[in-house]
């Protein structure tokens, strides 16, 4: 296991988060290693999204230290946090695309803001990024509200990787998608990871996604990280919360899939046509 500081991108130590009297995290420790796909799992209300927001400087923990690329966030100057923010991309749960811009302008916005490239070059790069995420040509000219849920996530991912970030955060990348589109997102995450070799931190409930893409999974519960490990290790873990989380959900999912495929075996998924090739 690599343990020197070079290989740790995010280092969280003794992080506590409280909102009024409600405690979200107590003494939470978590490391994210360079180049890995780390998933943060856990039941609703265990502070997964809060943890993500703390990693991307949208929220400050009540106490504890967080180091991003080796820099302690409590002593960051404005210039340093600007530089840090340009090193990562974020895919928000609902996309977070600007509704007043077209999809292509959304993807080109980080480039327009942080580089001196001319408009036609930026448009071309944005179109290529969109095609990279498996969107059909012509999507770039639409506005975000003309897109379906799956297309929205793809477009949002295209914006997140617009500047080739070193670190990519995904907040529930498959929530609200049908199984076919979620499978498409699995492939998309893997191909993006393979192409750029970036570090990915994602928050998800989706067990299929966890099995398909994650190198390590951190399970949150009781305000801390209950366990970190590969899916294989976790599925044999003895902790009752982890047991119930993996075993029960898995059973429910596989059962529901069987019953559905029995009823409607012949119906193709709606969004099949624009899946990543």
């Amino acid at each position: 296991m690599p343990n020197n500081n070079e290989d740790i991108v995010i280092e969280m130590q003794k992080v506590c988060t409280r909102f009024g009297s409600q405690t979200v995290h107590t003494d939470l420790d978590l490391d994210v290693r360079r180049g890995e796909i780390l998933a943060i799992a856990g039941g609703s209300g265990t502070g997964k999204s809060v943890l993500l927001r703390e990693m991307i400087l949208l929220q400050r923990p009540t106490s504890g230290t967080i180091k991003l690329f080796g820099e302690d966030i409590s002593t960051l100057t404005d210039a340093q946090s600007h530089r840090l923010r340009q090193r990562w991309g974020v895919l928000f749960q609902h996309g977070g695309l600007f509704s007043s811009l077209t999809v292509r302008e959304n993807v080109g916005l980080p480039l327009r803001e942080h580089s001196a490239l001319d408009d036609s070059t930026i448009d071309g790069i944005a179109e290529w990024k969109l095609s990279l995420t498996g969107l059909p040509p012509g999507t770039g000219l639409k506005t975000p509200n003309q897109l379906s849920g799956g297309m929205l996530k793809r477009a949002a991912l295209a914006r997140a990787i617009a500047l080739d970030p070193e670190l990519l955060f995904l907040d529930e990348p498959t929530t609200g998608l049908d199984p076919t589109s979620s499978a498409g997102v699995d492939e998309l995450i893997l191909s993006t990871h393979a192409l750029y070799g970036l570090t990915i931190v994602m928050v998800t409930h989706d067990l299929d996604l966890l099995w398909a893409v994650s190198d390590r999974v951190a399970v949150l519960g009781e305000g801390r990280v209950l366990a970190v490990g590969s899916m294989d290790e976790l599925s044999h873990h003895q902790h009752p919360i982890i047991q119930s989380y993996f075993v029960d959900q898995r059973a429910i999912i596989s059962k529901s899939k069987i019953s559905k495929s029995k009823v409607r075996p012949d119906v193709p998924a709606q969004e099949d046509t624009w899946r990543a090739k």
Binding site: G124, I125, E127, W128, L132, Y196, G197
Partner: protein, 378 residues
């Protein structure tokens, strides 16, 4: 970890230098960081460069970093050359990025369709006609719903109505009172000089009285309420459209017009005339204060002449107008809210439109009233 070895460009970002391209015969040496931030004027330089016809050798030995922007730019240049590219001394991960770019570069960016001037005029004209018809149908639906409710008074939603009166009327008292008071001061002050010239100081009472009661009090109340309540109505309903709350109402068989529009219209029709009376009072008080300090017309004298000269009709003219203004404000506010489509910026657009249209229509209505009253000699 094997992935680390392939991942050097991201680690090597410390030695950042601008992108360079040097030609030696058929060989082109790339150097520096070919990244979005460091490309500089490379797009323009590449546009002017052309290479030989057989093959172009790209030497990537000194290439410090390459990101999607750099790879895309290089690929665009290569696709414009007749020569076939040969990659020499390229790190495997950079080569992979170039291969990926080459696959996707087949689709050139589709240009945004440019609409001709004539088409834009035509589209905006049909949109306006469509909006006029939509307004007409909204007025009709609302009138039908109102008739239904009046026939069954038990279905009137009193709590919502009273709450709307409180928010739109009672809570607006301070701002309306202050604005109208200041307006009374201004009217008296503007008249003072002229009246003093003719020694007609006492006529400041008529000036302030008629101006406030007939024109300024109804108008200023209506304009403030447009900004305060009309815009809020549009934003509230518009947001509900976007979050599918309006659709939810329809599916549980509650008419959105019953629940959202009628209480708002009724509330303003009750509140705005009352606010106008309040504005009349504070406006005249403002005039009175100014009359005493500038023209030496005492409070007692002022009130005595005011009682003699002003008739009930003068007050009623103002109040009558304010009822019409209330219908315009609440009607347009709700109508524009329901016209919201799709996304957050649409709410902003409709709210702007609602306020502009309301104020415009209020002024138009006021002008029509002036014509009407002069014909009827009121």
């Amino acid at each position: 970890m094997p992935i680390l070895a392939e991942n050097e460009p991201h680690q090597a970002r410390t030695d950042i230098s601008p992108a360079t391209l040097e030609q030696a015969g058929d060989e082109w040496a790339l150097g520096g960081s070919w990244t979005a931030r460091e490309l500089g004027d490379m797009p323009r330089r590449l546009d002017q460069l052309a290479c030989g016809s057989s093959e172009v050798v790209l030497n990537g030995e000194k290439l410090a970093a390459l990101d999607s922007a750099g790879a895309w730019l290089l690929q665009r240049w290569l696709s414009r050359q007749t020569a076939s590219p040969v990659f020499k001394n390229w790190a495997p991960h950079l080569q992979r990025l170039m291969d990926r770019v080459a696959e996707g570069a087949a689709d050139p960016p589709t240009a945004a369709p440019q609409k001709s001037f004539l088409e834009r005029v035509g589209r905006s004209a049909t949109a306006n006609v469509e909006q006029a018809f939509a307004l007409l149908s909204f007025v009709g639906e609302t009138a039908a719903a109102a008739t239904r409710q009046l026939a069954h008074p038990g279905r009137i939603r009193w709590r919502i109505l009273l709450r709307n009166i409180q928010i739109g009327g009672f809570d607006a008292l301070p701002i309306i009172g202050l604005t109208s008071f200041l307006l009374g001061v201004v009217v008296a002050y503007q008249g003072a000089d002229q009246l003093k010239n003719y020694g007609a100081n006492i006529f400041v009472v008529d000036l302030v009285g008629y101006a406030m009661l007939r024109e300024f009090a109804p108008l200023i109340s209506a304009i403030i309420i447009t900004g305060r309540s009309g815009s809020a109505y549009t934003a509230e309903i518009g947001t509900m459209v976007i979050t599918e709350e309006i659709d939810a109402l329809r599916t549980i068989d509650i008419d959105p017009i019953d629940l959202l529009v009628l209480p708002k219209i009724a509330a303003l029709v009750i509140a705005l005339p009352l606010l106008t009376v309040f504005a009349d009072i504070t406006g005249v008080i403002g005039g009175m204060v100014m009359a005493r300090s500038q023209l030496g017309v005492g409070f007692h004298e002022f009130i005595e002449r005011f009682g003699r000269e002003m008739h009930g009709a003068t007050l009623l003219v103002g109040i009558g107008k304010s009822v019409v203004f209330a219908l315009i404000i609440s009607g347009i506010g709700c109508f524009q809210g329901f016209r919201t489509k799709g996304s957050a910026d649409s709410v902003g657009r409709q709210t702007t439109m609602s306020v502009v249209q309301s104020i415009f229509l209020i002024i138009v209505a006021d002008a029509l009233f002036s014509v009407l009253f002069s014909m009827l000699d009121i």
